[in-house]
């Protein structure tokens, strides 16, 4: 049985070798179809995982209210640089949010850009003023030493915890623990801890937490005040900001929608007209992302189907030509005792072999392509085994499905006419 099947495949290959160029071109149609399906799925999967990670970094049970400079204030600031522009979340609001969401953990964050110096090492980065619960809410870990405590806050301690990257930059050779850092012109902070590397993009605005310095929020208030002066590239502006961000960690993801509604209502009451606070709900973004990924996948599937359909039409075209060319052979085989099913089998095997060959090479190419995409375009790609199996399976099925009609035509030729065919 197996020997017989192998013989059929071998004879099929032999017939395909009669027209090497034509067979290879037909195979190429399927090949590129399969390769592009695998590559597209790998890119899609990579992008999906990347997006998921990004939102997970923000915390799927978190709600984030972030102060932002209102757009119209930009021009105002240039007219009266000395008049501070007030915007954003206030301390009272944070208390109100905490009171309205008793089950949630609410933390306040201030972000102030400062120059930091340690010996000859100099860096300009964000000083994040925050609280003891920050570590849990932001889902971060301490690598060495300890995190900021409530006592630090109460005592307005001049202590800091460094992000992993910042720690490396300020202390390239020595152990930072217990050392002091000069912040701004005359504030000194003692390092009590270093955070583990995050490798995430989420952080204080556009600065990853890995590059930030963390101090107690009360210390931040006392040292820097609420009026912040920005000097950059010769321009000068003053703003009055109490809180840059409030993070709310809900107990679990089922309570996120209700919490989001309460938070939005509270924020809207104060900031609707000024439009200076933005509420972000990572879970909603995640769902939106998943929704758009679903659409993306549907589009992908349609493109993939079309490319394989085109490949299939190529196969059908070639098989119809083959059947016509080999009419006489069909007549001979029928005269020698072949039944209709034998003829169907013969041509189905040929079209199946044609597309399976394309499938095999296509799978190989489809596995290589995502690596190249990752190298050249810095786009994360993930090849899932079932995607490879799916692409190959579809290619083989395409060969058989599109081979059916030509094979059926071959089998239903009248043997007498077929034998007379020149």
């Amino acid at each position: 049985m197996i020997q017989g099947s192998w013989r059929i495949v071998r004879l099929g290959l032999k017939s395909l070798m009669l027209h090497k160029l034509r067979s290879s071109l037909t195979t190429a149609g399927i090949l590129f179809g399969v390769a592009s399906v695998i590559a597209m799925l790998a890119v899609g999967e990579g992008a999906k995982i990347e997006a998921l990670e990004r939102f997970r970094d923000m915390g799927v049970t978190n709600l984030i209210a972030r102060s932002k400079k209102p757009a119209e204030s930009l021009s105002n600031s240039q007219q009266s640089a000395w008049m501070p522009i007030g915007y954003g979340l206030q301390f009272e609001e944070a208390d109100l949010i905490a009171a309205s969401l008793p089950d949630a953990t609410v933390i306040r964050i201030r972000e102030i850009k400062k120059n930091m110096q340690r010996g000859e090492n100099f860096r300009s980065s964000i000083v994040v003023g925050t609280e003891a619960d920050f570590l849990e809410v932001a889902n971060m870990r301490v690598r060495e030493g300890r995190w900021l405590s409530n006592v630090d806050n109460e005592r307005l301690a001049n202590v800091c915890v460094l992000g992993a990257t910042l720690s490396r930059l300020l202390f390239p050779l020595e152990n930072p623990m217990g050392q002091t850092i000069l912040v701004g012109d005359d504030d000194r902070y003692r390092v009590v801890g270093v955070l583990a590397e995050q490798g995430r993009t989420a952080g204080a605005g556009s600065t990853p937490y890995d590059e930030c310095m963390f101090i107690p929020i009360n210390t931040s208030n006392r040292r820097f005040g609420v009026i912040l002066t920005n000097r950059s590239g010769g321009s000068f502006s003053r703003e009055r900001v109490e809180l840059h961000e409030v993070k709310v960690k809900m107990p679990d993801s089922t309570t996120v929608p209700a919490g989001a509604k309460i938070l939005r209502d509270l924020v809207e009451r104060q900031h609707k007209d000024k439009n200076d606070v933005l509420v972000t709900v990572p879970l909603e973004l995640l769902k939106q992302e998943e929704e758009s990924k679903r659409m993306f996948n549907i589009v992908l599937a349609v493109i993939a189907s079309i490319s394989l359909l085109v490949g299939g039409i190529g196969i059908m075209n070639v098989m119809l030509a083959t059947v016509t060319e080999r009419t006489r052979e069909i007549g001979i085989r029928r005269a020698l005792g072949a039944k209709r099913k034998h003829i169907i089998q013969q041509f189905l095997v040929e079209s199946g072999v044609l597309s399976a060959l394309g499938g095999v090479v296509g799978v190989a190419l489809g596995i290589v392509l995502p690596f190249l995409i990752t190298i050249w375009f810095d786009q994360k790609t993930i090849i899932l085994p079932h995607h490879v199996g799916l692409a190959f399976g579809i290619s083989a099925a395409v060969g058989v499905v599109f081979g059916i009609y030509p094979a059926w035509r071959a089998a239903n030729m009248d043997p007498v006419d077929a034998l007379r065919h020149e």
Binding site: Q3, R7, M17, L18, I332, L336, A338, K339, H342, L419
Partner: protein, 247 residues
Amino acid sequence: MTEREIIAEFVDVHRHYTMGDNIVRALNGVSMQVARGDYLTIMGRSGSGKSTMLNLLGCLDRPTSGEYRVGNRDVSRLSDDALSDVRGREIGFIFQSFNLIPQLTVLENLEVPLFYQNRVGAESRKKAEYLADRVGLGQRLEHKPLELSGGQQQRVAIARALMNDPLFLLADEATGNLDSNTEAEILDLFDDLRSDGVTIVMVTHNPAVAERADRTLWLKDGEVEKLIENTRQTATVAAGDAAGEQA
């Protein structure tokens, strides 16, 4: 005439085709018999019904009415699959244009008839080697048909027709595409087969070929015109004249 085993028989066979409004009566009530060991030729002008008769004899077509018996079985109403089986088991086809499958080797061509009966294996290979030897092509098993001369190709075709041990060989102008020397060789091969007891039915329009057979059936306008018995003697003499080398 001594009692002989009838292996193929037409009983009042008609084959009519409709072409537009016309009915073409290609065969119109033909009855004939082929006995085991017969060497029968069928002759007639073009349009006499030779090809139709060949198609019916070869089970490639079914009669409109009448009965066609192969062995002891009426095959005139069989299904397509069953007819394929009869062709595969009982009939050995030999064509004017050899009809070998070009992409297959001689050996693979010889195995085609047994392939459709699931009988390909060590035994079929042995048989193919034996028959290739018998037709004088034992050294050419791995050659492709186009690497052989016309006469050699026809020898392969004859060996192929013998692979399934058919009831009879059915030849259609088997020497029509060959030069006269090769024709003589092929006809000698048929003579050899006949003396080994192989039954041969050959459609031809060449009288010199027909004279080497035992009997010649003449068709005219779809009916049997006459059946001529050649004595073996005259057949040999006639063949000798044709080939110019036998006494």
